[in-house]
């Protein structure tokens, strides 16, 4: 068993455990921490794949910004443990089997298609970060600009939502 595989399995186990604990934890903060674990593990996987830049961005944006926001909000709203209501019978009984079926189907189809499209020759070629920026500013420049607009709108929306109305 080669080193990458070992690393992969360690990280994968980490991620899965984190996700499970995200589900099982009672307190949102704990869920948030579990999610952070998942994200870090994923960042590691990205590094393993060879997507350095994505890994870094994953940590910086997800770990450093988004999750911090989550934690911040949780602390701000002083969210306690969630109350275990079960108003939705559908979710209570139908949720788990459906989710499992979905997972199964996804795994099956993706592996099939992954096998069909993946070709090992070129696999794993490490992509220098420079090329990403080149692509980003040439091929994908319009989507990129669009995302900037998206962010602008998001900022305004967040401001409008979060401000207390002046009385």
């Amino acid at each position: 068993m080669s080193a990458p595989l070992v690393i992969f399995f360690v990280l994968a186990a980490l991620a899965v455990i984190g996700a499970i604990s995200l589900i099982l934890q009672k307190h949102p903060i704990h869920s948030a921490l579990s999610l952070i674990v998942v994200m870090v593990a994923l960042a590691g996987l990205y590094l393993l794949i060879g997507a350095e830049f994505v890994a870094a961005v994953q940590i910086i944006v997800y770990g450093g910004a988004i999750m911090v926001l989550f934690v911040l909000v949780i602390m701000l709203l002083n969210a306690g443990e969630e109350e275990r209501t079960n108003f939705s019978k559908l979710a209570k009984f139908g949720g788990l089997p459906l989710a499992l079926a979905l997972t199964g189907l996804l795994a099956a189809t993706m592996t099939k298609h992954g096998a069909s499209v993946a070709n090992p020759e070129t696999a794993g070629t490490l992509a220098p970060t420079g090329q990403i920026s080149t692509l980003l500013f040439t091929t994908f420049v319009y989507p990129f600009e669009l995302t900037s607009f998206l962010i602008l709108v998001a900022i305004m929306g967040a401001l409008v939502l979060a401000q207390r109305e002046k009385s």
Binding site: A56, I60, G63, G64, V68, L72, M75, T129
Partner: protein
């Protein structure tokens, strides 16, 4: 351990803080050349732990995670002052991280890489007709002097490390001791080690990104060879002064230890004098450490000088001053880089 705390998180917080800030040191290169003499059977040892292509990014990633230590500590303490402290720190760090990252982009543009050692190499040489070292802070070649960038970066860095005048998370006058009110003993110590470590990291970053890293300010020509003896010139008198000062120290313990330390320092200076090879090797780390030392000094200096900002001022500076200015800096620099590339 105070009652009613969330034990796991309460313990996790300081560990997180410390590990992350120590980890951030891992990517900082202290010198270009590996140790001249091999260890462990021919293994050559560099002056850095790792030097990845995206070193800078990784650094930011790790520092970005650093906020959790404080925020979680504040929350886990199950007490209102820490909670407020945690809130403040997380908000503050998230806001200033933007300015921090933005202000660095200029440098990255000029060096065209995230790799720290290569950034430093890009600053070797002279600028302005050889008068000045080609440090990003003043260099015209390859781009535009990052003066503005530096100020933005340093301010943001101070805020990022929760130091005066941005130390609202631990503002004694308002929140007893901020996020670590409920901490004591080594957990408390961990927080402080973490804080100072991140100070060091940030200072190192300043030196590397804007002040030419390990490049000496003097030209590399033979005429300026004598500057290579600066280390010993500084170390030997300092060591002698330590010995002298130690002998007439109050406590017996001091009288024993200080002279030893002094003599060691003096010895190092002497060794450097004696062995030019080692001296040459030491040049780069020396300058880098000197710069780091300067910034640490600056930290303490500002702490002794400036009063603490109000929270709204803090936010205003972060969002309305630093961020726009750094973005403008990026734009200008990018323009210059383009222009230079065109030439």
């Amino acid at each position: 351990m105070p009652g009613g705390v969330d034990k796991f998180v309460y313990l996790l917080a300081p560990f997180l803080a410390l590990t992350l800030s120590l980890a951030s040191l891992a990517v900082i290169p202290f010198g270009p050349k590996p140790l001249p003499f091999p260890f462990f059977g021919g293994h050559q040892i560099d002056l850095w732990i790792t030097n990845p292509d995206i070193g800078l990014l990784i650094l930011f990633a790790v520092t970005a995670l650093g906020v959790y230590g404080i925020a979680l500590a504040g929350w886990a303490s199950n007490s209102k002052y820490p909670l407020l402290g945690g809130l403040r720190s997380s908000a503050q760090m998230v806001s200033y991280e933007l300015a921090l990252t933005m202000s660095v982009v200029g440098v990255v543009l000029m060096a065209n890489t995230f790799n720290l050692s290569r950034i430093i190499d890009a600053q070797s040489g002279r600028t302005l007709w050889g008068i000045l070292p080609a440090w990003n802070i003043i260099s015209f070649h390859g781009g535009f002097p990052q003066l503005v960038g530096f100020f933005c970066f340093f301010t943001a860095a101070i805020a990022e490390t929760n130091r005066v005048p941005f130390d609202l998370p631990e503002a004694e006058s308002e929140l007893v001791a901020g996020f670590h009110t409920e901490y004591s003993s080594f957990k408390f110590a961990m927080f402080f080690i973490a804080e100072y470590t991140s100070m060091i990291t940030v200072s190192a970053l300043c030196a590397i990104l804007f002040f030419g890293g390990w490049n000496s300010p003097f030209p590399a020509s033979d005429f300026w060879k004598f500057t290579h003896y600066l280390p010993s010139v500084i170390l030997i008198p300092f060591g002698l002064w330590v010995i002298y000062d130690g002998i007439k120290y109050e406590t017996i313990w001091g009288r024993l230890v200080l002279p030893v330390i002094g003599s060691v320092i003096t010895l190092i200076g002497a060794v450097l004098l004696a062995f030019p090879a080692i001296n040459e090797f030491v040049q780069a780390p020396f300058w880098l450490l000197a710069k780091i030392f300067f910034f640490l000094f600056f930290y303490v200096w500002t702490r002794g000088t400036l009063p603490r900002f109000r929270y709204d001022q803090l936010m205003n500076i972060g969002w309305k001053l630093l961020l726009p200015v750094s973005i403008a800096n990026v734009i200008v620099t990018a323009g210059f880089v383009l222009w230079r590339a065109g030439k």
